[in-house]
Amino acid sequence: MSLYIFYISNFLLLLCLTASLMQSSKIINNKIFTRPGVIVLASVQLISILLSFLILIYLFLISDFNFDLVYFNSHSEKPLIYKFSGVWGNHEGSMLLWILILVLFNFLFALSKRISERFKDITVAVQSIMIFGFVAFLFFLSNPFALNQNNFFDGIGLNPILQDPLLAIHPPVLYVGYVGFSLVFSLAIAGLITKKVDQQWASIVKPWVFSAWAFLTAGIALGSFWAYYELGWGGYWFWDPVENASLMPWIAATALIHCVLILQKRNVMQSWTIILAILTFSLSLVGTFLVRSGILNSVHTFASDPGRGLFILLFIFLILAFSFSLFAYNSEKINKTSSMGLISRGTGIQLNNWLLITILTIVFLGTMYPLATDLLLNKSLTVGPKYYSTTIAPIIILFLFFMFISPRLGWNDTKLYKIIIQLRYLIITSLTITLIISLYFELFNLTEILIIFFSLLLIISSMTASINFNKQNILVRTNLGQNLAHAGFGILMMAAVSNAVYSEERIYNAKVGDNLQLQKYIFSFDKIEQVEKSNYNSLKAYFQMKKDGKLIDTFTPEIRFYSNPPTITSEASILHKFFSDVYLVMNVPQDQQSISVRMHIKPFMTILWLGTLMIIIGGIISASIRIGRFDEK
């Protein structure tokens, strides 16, 4: 039985390889190659990969340990959902998922209408060259359907830290984001080949780039949320190399979506948009595969194999070399000089583009520096999180300012003082609130105060801009997506700064019956009990949180002991309130009498997630609205 599945699935991979090869040849404009049509071949690509992915899921669900991948990453006693998510909790499976999304985007684009035949052919061909490369890599170098000769009775199991519902959906969401940029890349290459990067090109690209960006944002947010409650360190962002690897394409993509908008509205910045599209996709590849290659050492790394890193590096190098030489060759022909006012919305967006690239450089240097010294000087070191916060914070202040002012400017030269007079009430309100906040909370750090002030400006300005009344006093919604996302970003920044300043932490050794204090709360340690579950045993502590003698909530931090593979995890117990989270983690008892418990007050966490959610929804709205509404000239 297993042998049949082995043959069928490998046949499917070969089928996809063949179809992709035929599809790739469409790059040559000749009748021999352009038939059969894009949709037929794209369907073959999609169906073959979809079937092999379903087969892999089936193998995990029935726990067929004749397959290496299932043996190493699954266990018969694992709950069903984790057998399922175990499919992409490893290198080969996640690679297959990556390819599945790649062919899915290819197929969806092949279906799209109102695009010239030739442009579509070239885009799909470029996309298919990549599909070919990755399927070949999967087939020859990391085949998920490799059989073993032993009759294993049971599998090794999935790392328990990954056994989490959130982590089951985190990789697929993140991958849709990363892979979405592959299509944007293909569109950029097609634009370069046809020498047409214009307003029409921008309107074709817009929905794809916005949805990829929204998914990437959601993927990063899910990973951060997971780290917050599963790692048990009370933080949500650690400037860990793997987190940075996903942040870098996000920063580039954020610059890209704004350039696509300017291109669509004003037909300027063609070259820069193309460079950003190439950069974003290259960084997405780095994001996916540097993590998997084991080059980066991090809490998030699993299933690493340095040998495969080489292929990916080579692939990234080829993509960069090819696309930049094409760019150098054709860039003169795509640039059209049209004017843009000096003090205008375009300039503001351009300046923020530069700031984003600066932030990207900061993150890149911080992430790569330890790698470089390790490889070149054989010296291990880490870059402390303070590097990122102190270097990026001043840039964020400027960035927030331009984010606030740019949408208020027109596309043509605008008088800055007129705008400032127009916005005087808004500025005064924000200034007052900032003053109150900084006096009340005794906040005297200039950087923090300025971030809060400009965030407030941005939030209020974006929110009021989305509520507009026309002459008949009817509510009209203008640029809802943009305003929602911008306000969300302001909220995120404000929450992040306040959170960093006002977090509090206490560590206690506690015995049953103890009363522990944190700020105005009293925690009484009620009892500790052992719990047996199908895939782990756990030690669960019960704390009653009281304020002024009244019971508010019961906390149950937990330590889980997994046996397949043997691992211990701490499960935090969190009370989410609107203005602050209360967060409890316990650790393995040092002796029989007491346990160690760490308590955190994390202010504004709910608001921080809310801001992130607004950014994601804003992105989705912008992706689904075909033409931007701001057409003032």
């Binding site: 790392n159 809490v299 450089t361 520096y369 070191l381 270097t391 593979p565 691992t567 211990i568 393995v588």
Partner: protein
């Protein structure tokens, strides 16, 4: 040179200078925030590093863990050749155990003791920080692949 080329050249040089300045600022900031990693033998050789924040890694020596009170711990970190005594106040991570790999962050004091303010938590029992493997390989005590 035509005026177009000239103005482009000026723009290019100007942005190059700005970028260079920005990169320099970034790198200086980076230098200030670097945390080096040492094994015990390496650290003893570099006694001039006293007083700096750094990471120290190796194996927790057998029978070396003692606690003064509920939350102040003493233990030795070894690479097989040399040992350094570590003092740590706080919660030890779940997977902290004798004869297992550990990485601590803190300051190497001039009395030869390491005051740790962080014991880095790792989640997999079999996981060994790459730096620790490197340290053990250097001292010839590494027994893995």
């Amino acid at each position: 040179m035509t005026s177009l080329v000239k103005s482009r050249l000026i723009k290019f040089l100007l942005s190059l200078i700005i970028v260079l300045i920005a990169v320099l600022i970034i790198i200086f900031n980076l230098k200030d925030n670097i945390i080096y990693f040492y094994g015990p033998t390496e650290l003893l050789k570099n006694s001039d590093k006293q007083g700096q924040i750094m990471r120290l890694g190796g194996l927790v020596s057998v029978d070396s863990v003692q606690n003064e009170t509920d939350s102040i711990f003493y233990f030795n970190i070894t690479d097989g050749d040399n040992e350094i005594e570590v003092k740590y106040e706080g919660i030890l991570p779940n997977l902290f155990a004798e004869d297992k790999g550990v990485v601590v962050e803190g300051v190497y004091m001039n009395d030869g003791r390491f005051i740790a303010n962080k014991v880095l938590a790792k989640h997999d029992e079999n996981y060994m920080p790459p730096e620790v493997i490197e340290t053990l390989k250097k001292s010839g005590k590494w027994q893995g692949e």
